[in-house]
């Protein structure tokens, strides 16, 4: 995928593993509220919860490699008055325990927080079994479940704090691949609310999670070519911010979605359904197309699938047909 425009110069940006914010925030929440517990499936290390376990050994519940049990135990802990954060690789948490998520978490309205770690293609070389790119499509349709995809460490921490306060089932995707800070100073996460990171009039790029920074880069590049792209960050996939989407459709006339997920069913699907209901406009979808990914590192796969400033740029030009 080659860029159609020259790249704008990029500022040097430190990259963060959102699991660090995750781990620190859980420790903070646990220190403040004795009801906070964590449930893992032999995933203490991959969730960076070693320090949590040192500080709260009884409150780190490791059920072993048993995802159905893990979510069920989480539901039971919620019944027993705890606030469980179930922390497991997103691929296994969602694919292996989907009925428990549907029934024990959502349908039962239990106060359980499901934390999908290292989602998307964070485990690039490990292959399709370890890619969690279906999770947004699978979870978004489950009633009564809030689905959050933070874009940077600050948003991760805020989303977790909100989840701890909120009574009810929540899924949070906690990213492992390095991301820069994308939200402005003083940012406050509001569930269900899109964030306008850049104003624009020709097209709107709606991105979620790890790819928000790439959407911003693409907007920089497009500006050089005289294309004014609005950039919306969409941290909540469910409930989706219908107003922001409809305004984008109405005001900019075209939408490109970007996600570290399948192009079907997830953010792109949610936006498409909203758009045709309220204000039909042309759309393009950047993400993983309908295929199992080949072997490759995360960054190689991002480029391979065009989940990059260049790929977004191309999708914008395609939807604008110029």
């Amino acid at each position: 995928m080659t860029a159609l425009t020259a790249s704008a110069p990029r500022a040097e940006r430190a990259l963060h593993d959102c699991r660090d914010a995750y781990a620190a925030t859980l420790i903070e929440l646990a220190a403040a509220d004795p009801r906070v517990v964590v449930v893992v499936n032999d995933s203490t290390g991959s969730s960076k919860l070693g320090e949590f376990g040192k500080q709260f050994p009884d409150r780190l519940i490791n059920v072993g490699i048993a995802e159905q049990d893990m979510v069920g135990v989480g539901a039971g802990l919620a019944n027993g008055g705890k606030i469980p954060f179930v922390s497991a690789a997103s691929c296994f948490l969602t694919a292996r325990a989907l009925e428990q998520i549907k029934v024990d978490a959502a349908y039962s309205n239990n106060n359980i927080k499901l934390c999908g770690m290292s989602p998307g293609m964070a485990y690039g070389e490990l292959g399709a079994t370890h890619h969690s790119i279906e999770d947004l499509a699978w979870l978004r349709v489950i009633p009564n479940l809030t689905v959050i995809v933070p874009a940077d460490p600050v948003e991760t921490a805020q989303a977790l704090r909100w989840a701890a306060e909120h009574t009810g089932p929540v899924f949070v995707r906690v990213s492992r691949m390095g991301v820069p800070d994308v939200n402005p100073a003083g940012y406050e996460f509001v569930p269900g609310r899109a964030v306008t990171l850049r104003e624009g009039t020709d097209v709107t790029i709606i991105a979620t999670g790890t790819v928000v920074s790439r959407a911003l880069d693409a907007a920089d590049d497009l500006a050089l070519a005289g294309i004014s792209a609005r950039v919306l960050s969409m941290p909540t996939i469910k409930p989706i911010d219908t107003d922001a989407i409809v305004a984008a459709a109405r005001e900019t006339g075209a939408i490109v979605t970007v996600e570290e997920a399948l192009t079907s069913g997830g953010l792109g699907g949610a936006v498409a359904e909203t758009v045709v209901r309220h204000h039909p406009v042309p759309m393009r979808f950047v993400g993983v197309p309908d295929a199992f990914a080949p072997t490759g590192s995360t960054s190689w796969l991002f480029d391979h699938f065009g989940i990059s400033a260049a790929g977004i740029d191309a999708a914008v030009r395609d939807v604008l047909d110029r």
């Binding site: 517990v37 009884d58 409150r59 519940i61 059920v63 072993g64 048993a66 159905q68 049990d69 893990m70 979510v71 069920g72 135990v73 989480g74 539901a75 039971g76 802990l77 919620a78 019944n79 027993g80 008055g81 705890k82 469980p84 009925e99 428990q100 029934v103 024990d104 349908y107 039962s108 309205n109």
Partner: protein
């Protein structure tokens, strides 16, 4: 702290043959406390179970849906737990310190609803709405609609992991509250149960009691012809549980079993309750056809007559 016995109403009248009253009549029977003396408790449970079955079969007939076979096999266990053993009462359903029962074999919801009605947790007149549009009495229990329901079940193999979670919560709280979970024997074919058993053993959950309704029948066939569980007690023991076998229709024996929990060993307890699907009705008992068959009016009348003398 067992709640004081509620007034015992034993007013069920003999059924008019061929005529099916809307509910069992005579519910609720209420809970009975330990101070009543063992014989009185057993008599109360026997009568309670009889009235629950009366109510259940009429309810299933009226709804035209239900799982009467697997409901009758667990009625005595449920009656023993809700009418006496468990520390939970209608004014305590939100008490964090309540004992909990999770009906993992959620298809037997009819037995749970009629038992909860008998114990005063839900208004008996609701039984007439079983399976009706907008009813609180869904085909499988829904905790959002009934406060006394601890978990939404229906898909098999969900209850034991949840029970492990409530038991860990109690242990973290240093609370003596207990968790009971009632499973089908066919249900034990679900691997999630064995995951949960390992966790329960690892965490030393002496406060957790699982009861398996060992009626030797599942949906379409005998368990032994589908996916045999034997040697079941050996399996459960190898998974780190205390195992007790009991006649699941003998209230006195059930009382003894539940009184022995938590086990001194610190292990969780698995009760193998030997039962009969459809018990005690002659034409239902041990008959796989009665998994979700709905009794005709004549069959209800026959069953009610048999229950009179049971």
């Amino acid at each position: 702290m067992t709640t004081a016995p509620a007034p015992v109403t034993v007013s069920a009248s003999a059924p008019v043959a061929g005529l099916v009253p809307a509910t069992g009549g005579g519910l609720p029977v209420g809970r009975i406390g330990a101070d009543a003396g063992r014989d009185a408790v057993i008599a109360h449970l026997r009568e309670g179970a009889r009235l629950i079955r009366r109510s259940d079969i009429q309810m299933v007939h009226a709804a035209g849906l239900g799982h009467i076979g697997g409901e009758f096999s667990i009625t005595d266990v449920l009656a023993t737990l809700y009418l006496h053993v468990m520390k939970v009462s209608p004014d305590q359903v939100a008490d964090p310190e309540r004992d909990r029962l999770i009906l993992s074999k959620g298809h037997a919801a009819g037995a749970l609803y009629t038992t909860l009605a008998a114990a005063g947790f839900i208004p008996p007149d609701q039984l007439a709405t079983f399976m009706q549009p907008m009813s609180m009495l869904n085909g499988h229990p829904d905790r959002k609609k009934i406060a006394a329901v601890e978990a939404n079940t229906g898909p098999l193999g969900h209850g034991l992991p949840i029970a492990v979670g409530t038991a860990i919560a109690a242990k973290l709280d240093g609370s003596p509250r207990r968790t009971f979970v009632l499973l089908g024997d066919g249900e034990l074919q679900e691997g999630s149960n064995w995951e949960a058993m390992m966790t329960a053993s690892q965490y030393g959950l002496a406060n957790l009691t699982a009861v398996v309704d060992r009626n030797r029948l599942q949906q379409g066939a005998r368990v032994v012809d589908t996916n045999d569980l034997e040697p079941l007690a050996d399996k459960l023991r190898a998974f780190g549980w205390e195992v007790v076998e009991v006649d699941g229709h003998d209230h006195g024996a059930l009382l003894d079993v539940f009184a022995a929990v938590p086990a001194a060993s610190g292990k969780p307890t698995f009760v193998i309750a030997h039962t009969f699907k459809g018990y005690p009705i002659s034409f239902m008992r041990d008959n796989v056809a009665w998994h979700h068959k709905v009794p005709s009016a004549e069959q209800v009348a026959l069953a009610l007559a048999e229950l009179e003398t049971s």
